[in-house]
């Protein structure tokens, strides 16, 4: 299969998407503090995934592990634009959303290592990390399920009279699921503060988007049912941030929901054990050249004039945080069968 659309793929966006890309590249538009926060988030996700894969290869992490490598710009940009009290709902590829939402890496690693100190005490695992106390409705093992759940949180907020915004991260693969239309339509008729972010990484496991739909510009599906819909370069964290900020403003002004299609590409296969041989090399190279973590680093360096030594120190700090999380997890215990049986008795 040849790849014919790579030239300009992330530049040939909807009008507002191009505008956001332009805005995100303006020098002096952001404070150093903000750019550092963006880079830290993106790099933390990158570290979590690359180091996590090593733990998986060592047999310390079992089950499924769907890396977010290559898509870090989306979670990073979106979450930076939200506020305390807002909600997010995630996907099976959910580590990045958790981290960008400010999750405790100790508890995340402990969960992946099946420990009692993990977010779900080892009952959930990679695909089910949630923390409702901070508005994280959770990752989800059922592709597409986060959309109705997110609309539900947005509905709860509206019933309460709160201006909280809910973002559901979903995928191109999920956009052909029935609940995609059903729940986005409910959000639309009720003007909910809901933002649906389609992470269009162009593959549903191994099936190319061109094989799944005739119209590969997925944002157009929102337009069809009266939802304000845009496309953004998902590999540009700042453009994603700008787009989400605008979408959140639209929602809080009572004009939600908003759909954002973020174009991106995975760096590898669907999960750790999928080499992704079906992914065309030229296309992968195109996206690798637009790596979101590199772009976040470059923004910090070029827009805020931060030197390489400072950046290296930030990276070392994040790497150390992960190592400590692994230590913490290794020293943690597991839920005992006795405790588990006591829990089962409450069902």
């Amino acid at each position: 299969m040849t790849f014919s659309r790579n030239e300009g793929e992330t530049e040939n966006l909807s009008v507002l998407g191009r505008e956001m890309s332009a805005r995100a590249s303006k020098k002096n538009a952001y404070s150093q503090e903000f750019l550092e926060k963006i880079f830290r988030t993106a790099f933390k996700i990158r570290t979590f995934e690359t180091e996590g894969i090593k733990l998986y290869r060592q047999g310390l992490i079992r089950g499924y592990f769907h890396p977010y490598l290559g898509q870090e710009g989306i979670a990073t940009g979106v979450c930076a634009a939200l506020k305390e009290g807002d909600y997010i709902a995630s996907t099976h590829r959910g580590h990045g959303h958790c981290i960008a939402w400010g999750a405790d890496v100790n508890k995340m690693v402990a969960e992946l290592l099946q420990k009692d100190t993990g977010y779900c005490r080892g009952y959930g695992g990679s695909m089910h990390i949630a923390d409702i106390s901070v508005g994280n409705l959770g990752a989800n093992g059922i592709v597409g399920a986060g959309t109705p759940l997110g609309v539900g949180a947005a509905l709860a907020a509206q019933v309460r009279g709160s201006d909280a915004v809910t973002v559901t991260f979903t995928t191109d693969g999920a956009s052909n699921n029935g609940t995609f239309l059903e729940s986005l339509n409910l959000a639309a008729i009720w003007n909910l503060n809901f933002i649906l972010v389609i992470e269009n990484n162009q593959y549903a496991v191994s099936t190319r988007i061109e094989e799944s739909t005739r119209e590969t510009d997925l944002y157009k599906r929102g337009t069809a049912i009266g939802v304000e819909s845009h496309q953004v370069d998902g590999n540009d964290p700042l453009a994603v941030y700008e787009m989400t900020l605008k979408a959140a403003e639209t929602c809080r002004a009572g004009k939600g929901p908003v759909l954002i299609e973020a174009k991106t590409f995975r760096h590898m296969g669907h999960h750790v054990n999928d080499p992704g041989k079906y992914m065309p090399e030229d296309k992968l190279a195109y996206y690798m050249a637009r790596d979101p973590v590199d772009r976040a680093r470059a923004s910090l360096r070029e827009m805020a004039d931060v030197d390489d030594a400072t950046i290296a120190a930030i990276e070392a700090e994040i790497a150390e945080e992960f190592e400590k999380a692994v230590e913490f997890s290794k020293q943690s215990g597991e839920v005992t069968a006795e405790e588990f049986r006591a829990f089962a008795a409450t069902y």
């Binding site: 959770g138 109705p148 609309v151 509206q158």
Partner: protein, 335 residues
Amino acid sequence: MAEREIMYRDALREALDEEMAANQEVFIIGEGIAERGGSYKVTEGLLAKYGPGRVRDTPIAEAGMIGVGVGAAIAGARPVVEILYVDFAMLGMDMIVNQAAKFRLMTGGDGRVPFVMRTQGGTGGGVAAQHSQSLEALFYHIPGLRVVMPSTPADAKGLLKYALRQQDPVMFLEHKHLYMTKGPVPDGEHVIEFGVGDIKRAGTDVTVIAWSNMLPRTLKAAEELEAQGISVEVIDPRTLVPLDREMILKSVLKTRRVVIVQEANRRGGVASDIASIIQEEAFYDLDAPVEIVAGLDIPVPFNLALEAASVPQQEDVVAAVRRSLHLNAISKAAE
């Protein structure tokens, strides 16, 4: 305590009304439930009282609306999603089974889903195969769900009020034949905890366990049997999950004979599971095999006579009770 005779549907409305007044987090979504007041008039008047924010009509999108209800519950609200027919809930099974039921475990016990799905099932007046099912066994099978099947107005009210105060996803299964039935409902606050059955008729010879619309039918059978000198104890578990095993076993130890009546078809049904619990716990105390009276293992037909033939009738309950007392065999031998 003083009480009034009201209809099942009015009792349900009272429960919703009282809980909505008491808790701003309670809201209702469903098809035709706002201005129209619902197909069975359960939500009549609630739109005028609580406004369009808390009483909302939805498009015909069961998977979406059930999922939205589950999401709202995860976010701490108390949504009631009304699904016109339990048959239609099949469109939302992922949200019920994979999301609502599993969230608590998947979050290590912290995440709760106080979601209430109100719907109705059962046969009634030739509404045919896709509007007549009794599907409680599907929900009963899934760990994490509460399954509630009230048979009287008082139970309907008390259980719905409790459903709106507890923390787990509830499949609140009403019966289309019961909405217009009347019964006494206590004045004032009336809440019934889950897992507490009710002895609807005390007796000594045979225990009959029945729920939902099989309950009135069973009570009529009990009257008929009384005329034959047979004393039947009728137990309504009211909630199938959690199940009041203690009440059932206590009654079985007293009568030593059990008949379980369900409208749902026999295969893989709740009655079979209750029978297995009884044989496991009380096998040596039984004087007869546990009898199950259930629907036929076939979709419900449209033709009214065949529809009646597809689910247990009063005479089927009477025959099963007599079988458990060996009376059928004796009378046959006497012929």
